[in-house]
């Protein structure tokens, strides 16, 4: 490709950061030193174009090192990977964790999302605004959507660019701690939080998915193996791949990411495709506000995901799997890298796994702050090095997914059920839970409860029981509403605590389990303000590809802001705004390309119709 770049050159640091990822350029044609023989050799072809999938990693490398992506660095990434600069720019400006204008080395992302708002993030932000001025990259602090640290809300993520970059999660945080992180650096303020903090049940008997969290060292393969680790893989390798699929089918495993699609159906239809290679993608981009269950697994039991992916890869005949990990999970990244390395070194991953003849590789790809990349086709575009925009379906992932090849996309929680199924057998597994919702389920309980965290229960318990597990609403306050399934889910009333938390149970009560979010709001929370925050979330996270979602999320936010500032001053105007919300909401639901736009009105609609949040004003 004949590419034209501006004259901007990378700094030595920027160049080194990219080179460390992809090696030193071997010719002047690709950003290296120009040598005499460059004029007599021809370069290009497929080999030069084939690494577009590294663009996100290359941008991370630069952003981690210097804190932002300069024109020179952008040019260098484009030259090295043979991508037009306008394309690299379009990718870089898609992700919230990247900056294409200068910013300081230290920056703190302060979560202002719903779980943190319920626990006082507004006060943290007000204090910071007083000390540092309005949030902006230059001021060193920014508002952030849900960081997935909801058990420790209000939360923040402190980042310091450098070699290596340092990232620490803060929570429950204060404006004082944020200021400290900016002044003396995140590493000096706090160490990595222990995984058990997210799992109040850690160490209890009878856990199936969380049994190792807090009980074993998440960095030790030996510990993992001693605690039944990789025994599911051994069992799977004794079976034929088709038999593994059959077991998962008999276990009736449904996807835990939100859509509740039968995992075995995805596997079966992908395995049946003739095209190769096939791919396995683990969706670890959990960004649904209020969701942090995958993080609890990744930080407490990272080897279990590797084991699960090898089994899934074996079942569908894939040679390679990708873990698409959300960019805000630095600890998970470190632990997964370690788990992959150790597993490979001991024959659980890589060539000829455990002497079975089956080979499988896993690569990690870091997201960079884009909720939409958790959509099952946007994740492909992001991994391939394009903007994380969803694709139109059909074709479906099993026919044409990652790199246009048959692909299975499974959520982390879905996958870690697989070794369990292998270990205890599909019959025993299917006996857990209810008829249609089998197995154990993780719930992310946060908001105004005494002990927020990830809770494992067998399918079938009620909403009230889960809240009870988490200690119920804080003393002296009463429950106002519960949000099920996150921002794309729905609110329910405090008199509906008998809702059974199963796929069929929530469906029959016209709500959703979504990704397992149970977010409680007590009567101290201003729900109209929470609705504005939800609208703001969708407006920020819409990829912008289709009109209903791109403009609809803006109009939805504007109307909710009007309603929430007006309160009950002008009931007629509010009634007309609610009508407008319904109109926009229906168009988003009917005509958006993907689930983000289709669900962007769900929570607001349920708050209005089910909880009656705006009732006093109508």
């Amino acid at each position: 490709m004949d590419l034209k770049f501006t004259d901007a050159e990378p700094s030595a640091d920027e160049r080194e950061a990219v080179d460390r990822l992809i090696g030193v350029a071997d010719s002047g044609w690709y950003g290296g030193e120009r040598a005499a023989e460059d004029h007599r050799r021809s370069f290009g072809g497929q080999s030069a174009r084939s690494r577009r999938d590294l663009v996100l990693e290359a941008l991370h490398a630069v952003n981690d090192r210097v804190g932002w992506i300069s024109p020179g660095a952008l040019n260098y990434v484009g030259r090295r990977l043979s991508i037009p600069p306008a394309d690299v720019y379009s990718v870089a400006t898609f992700y919230a964790l990247f900056s294409t204008h200068p910013r300081p080395r230290r920056i703190v992302h302060v979560c202002t999302d719903i779980a943190c708002e319920a626990k006082g993030s507004k006060q943290v932000c007000a204090d910071l605004e007083e000390r540092l001025g309005p949030p902006s990259a230059v001021a060193g602090w920014k508002h952030s959507p849900c960081l997935g640290i909801c058990e420790r809300s209000p939360a923040a993520l402190a980042v310091e660019a450098g070699d290596p970059a340092i990232e620490r999660t803060l929570g429950p945080t204060t404006s004082h701690e944020v200021l400290q992180a900016l002044e003396i650096g995140p590493a000096a303020v706090t160490s990595e939080a222990a995984a058990t903090m997210a799992v109040p049940q850690a160490g209890q008997d009878g856990l199936l998915l969380l049994q190792r969290v807090g009980a074993v060292d998440p960095e030790s393969l030996t510990d993992f193996v001693a605690a039944e680790g990789y025994s599911g893989l051994r069992r799977a390798l004794e079976l034929q791949p088709a038999k593994v699929v059959e077991e998962v089918k008999a276990a009736k495993l449904l996807g835990r990411g939100g859509a509740a699609f039968p995992a075995a159906v995805k596997w079966e239809s992908t395995a049946a495709q003739e095209a190769t290679p096939r791919y396995l993608v683990c969706n670890a981009d959990e960004s649904e506000p209020g969701t942090f269950k995958d993080r609890a697994i990744l930080e407490g039991d990272p080897f279990s995901l590797i084991e699960a992916m090898v089994i899934a890869g074996y079942a569908i005949g894939a040679e390679r799997g990708y873990i698409y990990l959300r960019g805000e999970y630095p600890r998970s990244l470190r632990l997964l890298r370690n788990a992959i390395e150790q597993s490979r070194a001991h024959g659980y991953l890589g060539e000829d796994i455990l002497g079975s003849g089956y080979s499988f590789e896993i690569e990690i790809r870091r997201g960079a702050g884009a909720y939409i990349c958790g959509e099952e086709t946007a994740i492909f575009n992001s991994i391939e090095g394009y903007r994380g925009e969803p694709r139109s379906k059909p074709p479906f992932p099993f026919e044409a997914g990652l790199f246009g090849k048959p692909t299975v996309v499974n959520n982390v929680e879905t996958l870690v059920n697989v070794p369990l199924i292998m270990r205890i057998g599909s019959t025993a597994y299917a006996e857990l839970g209810t008829g249609d919702s089998t197995g154990p389920k993780l719930f992310c309980v946060s908001g105004n409860v005494a002990r927020p965290g990830v809770y494992e229960v067998p399918f079938g318990v009620t909403l009230g029981e889960v809240l009870e597990l988490a200690g119920g609403v804080s003393q002296g306050n009463s429950l106002q509403a519960v949000l099920l399934g996150g921002a794309a889910g729905g609110f329910v009333r405090p008199d509906e605590l008998d809702i059974p938390l199963t796929f069929e149970g929530t469906r029959s009560r016209s709500t959703t389990l979504g990704s397992g979010v149970v977010l409680a709001f007590d009567d101290t929370v201003d729900l109209p303000s929470i609705l504005v925050r939800i609208a703001r979330f969708f407006r920020d996270e819409s990829c912008g590809q289709c009109v209903p979602c791109r403009v609809g999320t803006v109009r939805q936010e504007e109307a909710l802001v009007r309603i929430s500032t007006r309160r009950d001053d002008d009931p007629t105007a509010t009634a007309s705004d609610i009508l407008l919300l319904r109109d926009v909401g229906l168009a988003m639901k009917d005509s958006s390309i993907c689930g983000l736009g289709q669900a962007a009105w769900n929570a607001v609609e349920s708050a209005i119709d089910r909880v009656g949040v705006l009732e006093e004003s109508t």
Binding site: K4, E558, S591
Partner: protein, 321 residues
């Protein structure tokens, strides 16, 4: 075919099967692989489209051509979805009308559609009222600065728009992104679907997205080769010839007085066809027929913009002296 046998049969392509679908309860037969849009056309339905381009792969981003398909949970973009035997398509149900109306209202409230052909008729047809979202928010000067995932909280008193300064950075064409509906057609024409120049892409995210060069550098500093194929496919007039832009500005642009003459480009031997748009005996812009087998509507800088010498007349020279 790899054979060099000159008695090899002439390749005629696969015989095409016809697929029968019903459109608003009328049965139509279209070739297998056709889009629902083609079936709607065959049934005599007038389907609004904006991002659809006859020479481009459907991006189905604008969502104005949505139809209801029996059995589908959501509405379906007719411009890209292929027909299947027995499909039942409805183009005028309450749901379809609602969606088309809302999409038109959303576009009308955020984008300047004053030069978008036919959109005014559709607004009437679907009773769209773009003003219901409030008065437009007015011009923004920082739309080229991208901070994805962040925006200033609105106060709800106005409706956010795309309005921004016009980009005039060269003598050939103008970019007026206040009129941009982000249909991606220019990006696709500039990139791998036609020109392979890759000078522009969508930058930013969500409502703050914008067609842009890298770091919004001006076109002369970008990879642009001024083929104008982006102008050819732009459905809203966001991209226009500098000549057209200036005449509109001066109030002298008048399509009623224009003639169109299709001829063969004389610059080289490829044989691209040019359609010269002439007003008052002056070429005011050049397009290219999309159904022509050589260029499919594409030209190079010479064919597209190299027409000034034709009208470099003596009297005009004298006038300018």
């Amino acid at each position: 075919m790899t054979t060099t046998d000159n008695r090899a049969p002439v390749h005629m392509g696969m015989p095409t099967r016809l697929v029968t679908v019903s459109v608003d309860e009328r049965e139509v037969s279209v070739p297998e692989g056709s889009t629902i849009l083609a079936a709607c056309d065959a049934a005599g339905e007038d389907t609004p489209t904006l991002c659809y381009g006859d020479t481009l792969t459907p991006k189905n981003a604008c969502r104005v051509c949505m139809v209801e398909v029996e059995g589908s949970r959501v509405l379906v973009p007719s411009c890209s979805r292929r027909v299947q035997e027995g499909m039942e398509v409805k183009t005028d149900t309450e749901r379809v009308r609602h969606s088309r109306r809302l999409v038109l209202e959303m576009l009308g409230s955020s984008v300047d559609l004053s030069t978008t052909p036919r959109v005014a008729d559709w607004m009437v047809r679907y009773a769209a009222d773009p003003e219901r979202f409030g008065p437009p928010a007015g011009e923004q000067f920082d739309r080229d600065v991208h901070e994805p995932g962040e925006h200033h909280l609105p106060d709800g008193s106005t409706a956010a728009t795309m309005e921004q300064p016009v980009k005039v950075d060269n003598d050939l064409y103008v970019r007026d992104y206040s009129k941009c509906i982000l249909c991606y057609k220019c990006v696709d024409a500039c990139g791998e679907q036609w020109q392979n120049t890759f000078a522009i892409q969508v930058a930013g995210r969500g409502f703050d997205s914008q067609i842009s060069t890298e770091f919004s550098v001006e076109l002369p500093d970008s990879a642009c080769v001024y083929c104008g194929n982006c102008v050819e496919v732009c459905p809203t007039g966001a991209l226009s010839f500098k000549s057209e832009f200036d005449m509109r500005d001066a109030g002298t642009w008048d399509e009623e007085r224009q003639t169109e003459t299709t001829t063969v480009c004389t610059f080289c031997g490829v044989g691209c066809n040019l359609t010269l748009h002439v007003q008052d005996n002056e070429i005011v812009k050049v397009s290219s027929p999309h159904d022509h087998s050589v260029g499919h509507g594409n030209l190079c800088i010479k064919g597209r913009f190299g027409f000034q010498h034709v009208q470099s007349r003596e009297d005009r020279k004298r006038r300018n002296d």
